[in-house]
Amino acid sequence: MEKLIETNELYTNFNTFEGVVKALNGVGVVVNEGETYGLVGESGCGKSVTVRSMMRIVQAPGKIESGKVVLFFRAEDRSKGIDIIDRSEAYMTSIRGDSISMIFQEASTSLNPVLSIGYQVGESFHYHRRPQMLKETIAELDAEIGGKLPPLSKAWRSVTKRLLARELREREAYDARIDEIDKELYALEEQEGAGDVSKKRDLNARRDALQDHSALTGFFMGVPFLKRYRKRLEKTVHRHVVELLRTLGVPNPERIADAYPHELSGGMQQRIVIAIALACHPVLLIADEPTSNLDVTIQAQIIDLIKRLKEATISSVLFITHDLGLVAEVCDRVSVMYAGDVSETAAVQELFKKPLHPYSQGLLNSVPKVEQDGELATIPGAVPNLIVPPTGCRFHPRCPKKMDVCSASKPPMIEWAPGHWVACHLYTDGKR
């Protein structure tokens, strides 16, 4: 299996009033192509911060201190990665929503209450699929002009067509230039050495400065009445939106596209959020607790939808949850996180059958099962405060198998069995 995205020794801190919250303590996560990868852990363990760091959308007091986030998205050579930590913001914008999409826990706050569903879903087509939309509209107009029409409407259509063609031309030129710069950037990244940092910065700045349309086109696009020619483009986008909603099993997609978020139920809102995320067929879908606020029966609907879509369109899913039941049902491979550390990574069957890390064991035992007899096992204590995290292994104050070394040094991640990684001193140096 090929790697799709990888984080390496990721440290993210939050500078709050009370002190520096060390939210991520060197997190390493690998998502492979075609798999559903789960991140489980309790609240505050850093699972959301991890994926936010991956997409570089950590909120205000938070900052990625060090580490690498490497994407393996390059069409020509999938084995070569792109480190996105020092890439420009414009580059990130072009990736987010296109090759990586994210859905959040609260669908109601992910949607803008004053914009129609159709507009919000259509935005992704506008930003990331502009050339395709333009081409389709132009082809349509061509067909109409070729047919029988009163002369005036014919004239209006040909004007519209010319203006759209102009937009398309400029956009294609822009894309070509971006590709050029990216190639140079890749070439630079492949040669090791710090000497060309300034050149890299220069290239990134040039990339950001590029415009996808000329001043004249911008004028046409911005002036009232003149910009009416783009109505045809909107129509094409709207058609795609309705089509997308239909494939997601949204009943009555034409009506829903004209509705506003508050008119929809929680489950339907989450479907819309998924539609927005999937608009551009992302390579990776990050789902951050997508069903935590939904009822069980609606949760079952959404999970079923994500599973079906994964088969059909998306290549990989990164699934964040605190619900071990969902993990068992959805994921292929899982990482268990605790207090900013990844404590164990394994295939899901393997993890549930033979958890290695004492925290994973405790977590699995403390969930009520269907065939639960006797008392639930518990993990004593509570999640630590990450302003002053425990030394060494962050789990050691609650660990039933604590040793002296645990408070002294952070255990390394080792591959205990093929594909089964664990970070615990019980297993270092081939013990046990």
Binding site: T297, P368, V370
Partner: protein, 352 residues
């Protein structure tokens, strides 16, 4: 003393919806719509259902935190007397006689001192302890509040009792003069439980007591609640949407859908042989923490309808795959199934 501690008859709770300039009453949110429920002494009854089904409202109406629209709630009364009053009520000519007796027995009619005395017997633990503990009060004052309000303990004995309570819920003694925000979620919930137990109640409503907690802490609290129930012969109404939690804690499960009880039976029976199609779907939708079992899921279509305007007939029929003509027109009653204490409200439970 009888076996039944709490007896709920035909309980309704409607929230009026007003509209227009003059706040005219236009409709009702039918949160609890004709619920009958008996809870035995020392039992833990799990009340499950999706959000908006009225389970929390029911719990709070029992405690008179919400005023019921109509219906009767008897707490700790002689069952023969209840039956007699109910008989009197049923016949229109004797209903007047029943009124006098109801004022004595029915929780929903109590007032003043009587209500206050009742509050000693019934308590509640809320979902989120960060909301249920006053952030500006010390732990000591929080736990002592019911004691002082009920004039149960005075002077130096208050501190002693508070310490005792903290010990009961497994907290140390050094916490009296601290604020809630200095504690973790699990500890806060322990404090909330200590407060609920302060007056030695017989009946406690658990309103999703573990949904705001982390998995590892949830187990601690669940074990504590079970232990307390044993030690103090408590009766619980355990309101939750988490079916596995209910299975762990409860002796009996009551499933609610849109303000109505659709199924009521012993936990084991409900899990092994659910009769109502909604219960079936609910159970099959639980994510099971075991990747080796791949079960067939029943995926319901559509959403929970609006409780202002619930569907006619059986309320579940628009989402039910077994629905027939009768389901669309007639509302099913809660029928006994012949199995021990198991009732179900479905026209077709025998066939499906």
């Amino acid at each position: 003393m009888s076996d039944t501690l709490l007896d709920i008859r035909d309980l309704y709770k409607y929230y009026p919806v007003t509209g227009g300039v003059f706040r005219k009453h236009v409709a009702d949110v039918k949160a609890v719509d004709g619920v009958n429920l008996q809870i035995k002494r020392g039992e833990c009854v799990g009340l499950v259902g999706e959000s908006g089904c009225g389970k929390t409202t029911l719990g709070k109406t029992i405690l008179r935190l919400h005023e019921s629209t109509s219906g009767r709630i008897y707490f700790d009364q002689n069952p023969d007397k209840i039956e007699e009053v109910e008989r009197l009520l049923a016949a229109p000519e004797t209903a007047g006689q029943a009124k006098a007796a109801l004022a004595e027995m029915d929780i929903t009619k109590m007032d003043g001192t009587r209500l206050r005395a009742l509050r000693r017997q019934m308590q509640i633990v809320f979902q989120d302890p960060s909301n249920s503990l006053d952030p500006r009060m010390l732990i000591r004052d929080i736990i002592a509040e019911p004691l002082e309000a009920q004039n149960l303990v005075k002077g130096a004995d208050v501190d002693k009792r508070v310490l005792e309570l903290l010990d009961i819920v497994g907290m140390g003694t050094g916490h009296l003069k601290r604020y809630p925000h200095e504690f973790s979620g699990g500890q806060r919930q322990r404090i909330a439980i200590a407060r609920a137990l302060a007056t030695n109640p017989k009946f406690v409503v658990m309103d999703e007591p573990t949904s705001a907690l982390d998995v590892s802490v949830q187990a601690q609290i669940l074990n504590l609640l079970k232990k307390l129930q044993r030690d103090f012969q408590l009766t619980y109404l355990f309101v939750t949407h988490h079916l596995l939690v209910v299975k762990y804690t409860s002796d009996r499960i009551v499933v609610m859908y849109l303000g109505k009880v659709v199924e009521n039976g012993p936990t084991k029976q409900i899990f092994e042989k659910p009769l109502h199609p909604y219960t079936k779907a609910l159970l099959s939708a639980i994510p099971v923490p075991d990747p080796t079992t791949k079960r067939e899921k029943i995926i319901l279509t559509g959403d929970v309808p609006n409780p202002v305007n619930p569907p006619k007939g059986c309320r579940f029929h628009p989402r039910c795959s077994y629905a027939q003509e009768i389901c669309r027109t007639q509302e099913p009653a809660l029928d006994p199934t012949g199995m021990d204490g198991h009732t179900v409200a479905c026209h077709r439970w025998k066939e499906i």
